[in-house]
Amino acid sequence: MSWMEDLLLLGIGGIAVSVYGVVAGLLLLGIDRKLVARMQARIGPPIRQPFVDVQKLFTKQNIVPEHAVAWLFNGAPVVALVSSLVILLYLPIGSIPPVLSGYGDLILIMYLLTIPALALVAGGFSSGSPYATVGAQREMVTMISYELPLAIVFIAIAWRMSADGIGDPFSLVTIMQYPLWGLVGPLGLIGGLILLFILLLVTPAELSRIPFDTPEAETELAGGLLVEYSGKNLAMFYTAQGVKTLVMASILIALFLPWNPSGLLGLGGILAAGIDIAFFLLKLVVVVFASVTLVRAMVARFRITQVVGMYWLFLGLMGIIALILLGIDAIGGA
């Protein structure tokens, strides 16, 4: 009967994580909009504004253009939302281990991260608008650019852990148990900080936010990938955007800021889990502020060629330097 219990647990966990993902994701978008408004000396929308937006979009007419491939056009938003919720099942929340821990690791997460973006690309191509096609091409180019630095970050951390003889270094539970900062010396510390910087810069590209929002580019491509989407399809992409924000921030927290306060306070049971989740949500807001809000309020949009150059040359090179630093650190420390 144990597989049935597993299935039941997975079902309950899946529903709980989906609700948490949608609510927390939209909340993060609202906090982001409020903070940007405050930085521009505006009052800004209420924090629940994204919820109102999604509610409104669900009541609007849903238009499928004449030239669109209807099944793909309607399927892409569902795939984008569901696949970004699936990633959450592999990520720890506070001190609670992932629902699917033991079934997948960092490498799987890296592959899963491409699926929401691919759904966007498929939706863009299937909508039959030249603006959406150009947007989809740009989204693919952006994906190709940020994969290299992202892979370097994941591999560098896992390799440094395996160099210390820690088993199963790609598992997020292991990474949370042995934070990178506790393993390394001064050189490795610099390497780790460089990796953190790279992941902070990969996050806005993964979410196609300013300055890497070339695929959507409201002023040149009229909304790019999403140009033909309206009503509930647009609402699903909007929600998926929030969930993706939550996913990227959770990954960054799991890799670089895994500490929980319950151990320090000597608490146990439900209270500890509650405090850890509250602290985790606080960390989420800080990470989103640093990687999305602050960057979005400060700079303008890059051209697509500049995006590729930045990720491959600048961040790729920095990643390799960080790898070398971590390598020297591992040899010197051992």
Binding site: R42, P45, V52, K56, Y131, V227
Partner: protein
């Protein structure tokens, strides 16, 4: 869930120029600056008519634009509001009786709210949005 209740707190605006002199455009851009900050009411400019709830139409409709105006109007998903910004759209303004005008706008598409002025001030445009919300509520009460 009441559609109008959420719609009026999250109005997304698409702006369409049908041959305006750009005076109204500058005032529309002035309306979304931090000084007036319409985003605190959920109002924001979007790049595609498919995302829009409000269609801001400026300018007297020129002969070339007449088909495009109709197409953009049809591309906006229901429920929608059309606002005519500036005197041109109502009467032709300084271009009155020109050989190439097919306007005014309400001969081409149905208009809900008129904002007069050449160009109207940002306060007038915001008042127009408030009028549009009031009209939506009336329509909801009547229905």
């Amino acid at each position: 869930m009441n559609p109008i209740q959420t719609l009026k707190r999250s109005l997304w605006v698409f702006h369409l120029n049908t041959g305006s002199c750009n005076g109204c455009e500058i005032e529309i851009v002035a309306t979304i600056t931090p000084r007036y900050d319409p985003e605190r009411f959920g109002i924001r400019l979007v790049g595609s008519p498919r995302h829009a709830d409000v269609l801001l139409v400026t300018g007297p409709v020129t002969g070339k634009m007449i088909e495009r105006v109709k197409r953009v109007y049809e591309q906006v998903p229901d429920p929608k509001v059309v606002m005519c910004i500036g005197t041109c759209g109502q009467s032709g303004g300084v271009f009155f009786d020109s050989y190439n005008l097919k306007g005014p706008i309400d001969d081409v598409i149905p208009v809900d709210v008129y904002v007069a002025g050449c160009p109207p001030r940002p306060e007038a445009i915001i008042h127009g949005v408030v009028t549009a919300i009031a009209k939506l509520e009336r329509r909801e009460g009547g229905a």
